[in-house]
């Protein structure tokens, strides 16, 4: 029973490897079926594992005498896992259509599956070593997705992604060494593992270490100052890949930070220290800067990438406040942003796939050509801006309220203000597409207009994601209660 939690990890990885090593397969359907089936199965296995093996701990083996590889499904992991599975399945099916106009599909699907498995592993990781292990492998295995189309630009972006993430990973590793000495254990436990008497006298050192680790993981989460890779890497990838990257893989960084702050060092250890302040400042800068850059960005996918930068820092801000409400908001925003951003990227992908248009100013009248898609786009955009009754609104509400309640001098109101401004900017960079799309203006000639609505492979996933994002907004209480009950434990 307990080994069940290995299945959703190993199965997709093995499938992916088998796809990779197998020689180029001629008939496309076979490939698609294999992939699709394994995606579904993985998702189901994941579900099964969550249901059956929840809360249990599995010690796989020892890396060295002191480094065990442990898997454990706790609530935080469940949230991320669920989000991951949904997005991956949707994006996967979307790519069946999208990948038609790319070569080397087999390789793409192979790595796609591997990344899926590794993300599951990340969510189920029971101690920091395991987490770090898969974190690094995640970087290595998701790089091929980035540089898939092999253009010079893509390869460069891929390498950039690789080196930034590795840099982050190594910063995290640096902290790991110290945790190994000053912590009781390396496995995640609510409220932190810092050994008081060992830590005594080395507080400053440990704070520095914590800050370095936060920075390290925040590289993946695209937090300022280590965000530069994200706008370069996400857009060059195939649209479904960028959806996955932007929606899920960045969240791996978030998860890492959550684990470090709340499960290793413990909120109590960091609350009120310079680390919290510095971290918070960075997040706010990122929030603002990200939206600003997105606002100035003409290329749609790049614009979305920048928006990711800013939105993920919403989450990080929530976490940095270390108040129950704000953390709840952050975790909730993880989910909302995942759905929304995935949907947005898929839309962008569909547009590129059908029309080949990438720049926002080319998209006039796109709403006439593919109305369904653009409606989805509009709805999720509203969600991202944070207009009720979408999910984004709820999460941001909790973020802001939490910040206000936290009563930190200055930040308690600076934070919300920044969030508000950024929300406005979000509206500023997302809605123009809708507006020009639906109201192309007088000089738009409807003669040339032909329907370009993509087939269901593309529309269905987008629809699902949109609906989900709305549902979260409509019936938030289920999730919120669930999240709050375990967040209160760790904060």
């Amino acid at each position: 029973m307990i080994y069940l939690m290995l299945l959703p990890i190993l199965f997709p990885i093995l499938m992916g490897i088998s796809l990779l090593v197998r020689k180029e397969m001629k008939n496309r359907p076979a490939l698609l079926i294999t992939t699709g089936v394994s995606l579904i199965i993985t998702a189901l296995l994941g579900l099964l594992a969550i249901i059956l093996a929840r809360g249990e701990m599995l010690l796989l083996f020892n890396l060295t005498a002191t480094l065990p590889i442990i898997f454990k499904i706790d609530n935080m992991g469940m949230v991320f896992a669920g989000m991951t599975m949904i997005v991956f399945v949707c994006a996967g099916f979307f790519s069946f259509e999208y990948m038609k106009h790319e070569q080397k599909e087999k390789r793409y699907y192979g790595y796609y599956l591997i990344v899926f498995g590794i993300l599951m592993a990340l969510c189920f990781a029971g101690n920091i070593i395991t987490f770090y292990l898969f974190f690094e492998i995640l970087t290595l295995s998701s790089m091929p997705l980035v540089l898939h189309n092999g253009s010079r630009e893509a390869v460069m972006a891929g390498l950039k992604y690789l080196f930034y993430s590795l840099c982050g990973a190594y910063m995290a590793l640096f902290g790991l060494y110290f945790l190994n000495k000053y912590g009781n254990t390396l496995s995640f436990s609510e409220g932190g593992v810092i050994n008081a008497e060992l830590a005594a006298g080395n507080i400053q050192l440990l704070l520095a270490v914590a800050f370095v680790m936060i920075l390290g993981f925040s590289v993946k989460a695209g937090m300022f100052p280590m965000h530069a890779w994200l706008p370069a890497a996400h857009p060059v990838a195939p649209a479904p890949a960028s959806a996955v990257l932007s929606a899920v893989i960045v969240k791996a960084g978030v998860l890492g930070i959550v684990r470090v702050v709340y499960y290793l060092f413990g909120a109590s250890f960091l609350r009120g220290t310079w680390v919290q302040t510095a971290w918070m400042i960075l997040t706010l800068i990122t929030v603002f800067m990200g939206s600003m850059l997105a606002y100035r960005e003409p290329v749609l996918k790049k614009r979305l990438a920048y928006s990711t930068v800013s939105q993920v820092s919403y989450i990080l801000f929530g976490l940095s406040v270390m108040d129950a409400g704000s953390v709840t908001g952050g975790v909730l925003h993880v989910i909302c942003h995942a759905f929304i951003k995935a949907a947005l990227f898929l839309c962008a992908g569909a547009i590129i796939y059908k029309t080949g248009k990438t720049r926002v100013d080319e998209l006039r009248g796109i709403g006439k050509e593919m109305p369904l898609l653009l409606w989805c786009y509009t709805i999720v955009s509203l969600g991202l801006i944070g207009i009720p009754p979408t999910g984004g609104f709820v999460s941001k509400w909790y973020l802001a309220v939490g910040a206000l309640e936290s009563g930190m001098p200055g930040f308690s109101w600076v934070g919300p203000v920044v969030l508000l401004i950024s929300a406005l900017l979000t509206a500023g960079y997302l809605l123009p597409v809708t507006i020009h799309g639906f109201f192309p203006g007088a000089d738009y000639d409807y003669q040339k207009l032909q329907k370009k609505e993509p087939n269901s492979f593309m529309t269905v996933p987008v629809l699902i994601l949109t609906v989900l994002s709305v549902l979260v907004g409509l019936f938030p209480n289920v999730l919120i209660n669930f999240i709050q009950q375990f967040v209160t434990k760790i904060v």
Binding site: F61, T64, A65, I137, N149, G150, C167, N180, K181
Partner: protein, 491 residues
Amino acid sequence: MKEIMMLVVILLPIITGILVPLLPFKQRKHMEVFLEGLVVLNSLLVWWLLTGSQEEAFTLARFTGNLTITFKIDGMSMVFAGLVSALWPFATLYAFEYMTKEEHEKTFFAFYTMTYGVTLGIALAGNMLTLYFFYELLTLVTVPLVMHTLTREAILASRKYLYYSLGGAAFAFIGLIFIIIYGNTTDFVLGGVLDLNKIGDRTNTLLLIYVMAFMGFGVKAAVCPFNSWLPDAGVAPTPVTALLHAVAVVKSGAFAILRLTYYSFGTDFLKGTWAQTVVMLIAMFTIVYGCSRAVKETHIKRRLAYSTISNLSYIVFGATLMTPLGMMGALSHMVFHAVMKISSFFCAGAIMHQTDKHYVHELDGLGYKMPWVFTVFTISAFGLMGVPGLAGFVSKWNLASAAVESGNPVAYAGIVCLLISALLTAIYMLTIVVRAFFPGKDFDDSSIQDIKDPSWKMLVPLVIFTVFIILFGLCSGPVVSFLKDVANGGY
């Protein structure tokens, strides 16, 4: 009885080497069988010796005074001798295939095999004088290997190698003298042999001498600023570069440093002195320097050579921590790096042998033509980067945690150096991998159509090494605990 065996395992390869040019072999195959047979036999003997019960020291000859040529098996000799004797048969096997393209291979194999014996001599040396003696001898027998191709740069390189090594030995010699004068004995005793009463108020002089001797032995371990011979020596045939300049020769330098630090001067004498700081800084600088040079380098073997430089300084860094843990880390990196670097060198050799390509930018797309070689190369690259689950991670973990444990601020900085170098390692190794596997969109493989993997003689060692990289990475428990015993004076 077994005492004599120590002498036998040293002399057998030397005699074999002398015989090779003299014996009239009907055809090449006979020589191969003869050599491989004897080498394997010797390795078996060595292992039999090591696994056997503890033996008394065996004194061969007697110089002036109480200076003797003595052999003894203690923990460190077990590690080094075991390592060398494990690698040599494979390297020889590989050399058979590789040398088919080179001339007068008889001389080559003669010296190649003699080197085996001499290296074992270093490993089994029971006192400083013996170590010094074989150290000098090693230089002499390896020079012909470096100048094997007899091109102009080969000769220049061999000269440089000779001057550097003999010069280094000259300074190491001073250290030897001081151990003779101020030590109770010249034999290796864990914890040092210095007689503090004899030293009196001349501690600083002795520390100065230690630094001198350290630099002297450091020449072979390629610490800054005495490392420029190593990349030049890369002109030698690849089996030499792989085994000698990644394992035997350079590791014997590191080995000598360990002997000097832990077994002659003694850690309690050196620890916390300015000397320790100096040597540690040197090591740290070399770690970073080597990597950055490797990044700049475009010739594959030279790049690997620079990587060796930095990795050697990992070992030296571990040695300079002057704690049992540090020694353990040093030893583990000595073993693991040997396996990883030799396999990556063999890959480079295989590439050169099959394609006559020497530069990184020529490798585009070779990944699919030589899948085996490049898979192995990728794995070794990951290993060198320190991806968890591979050997490199373990040794780096040991080193870094030892550095943390030592509580020495300089050592903390050393950890940073380790991580920086890990990042740089990723850069210089993965650029090769990415080139090989992702040649880019518009790449035509017509030029490399008929390139394929080398024959089994080359592949077998590669695969075996890879297996070991993974094994060490996943369950390094037994090895590490053994090394820990060694470092704590067990055996």
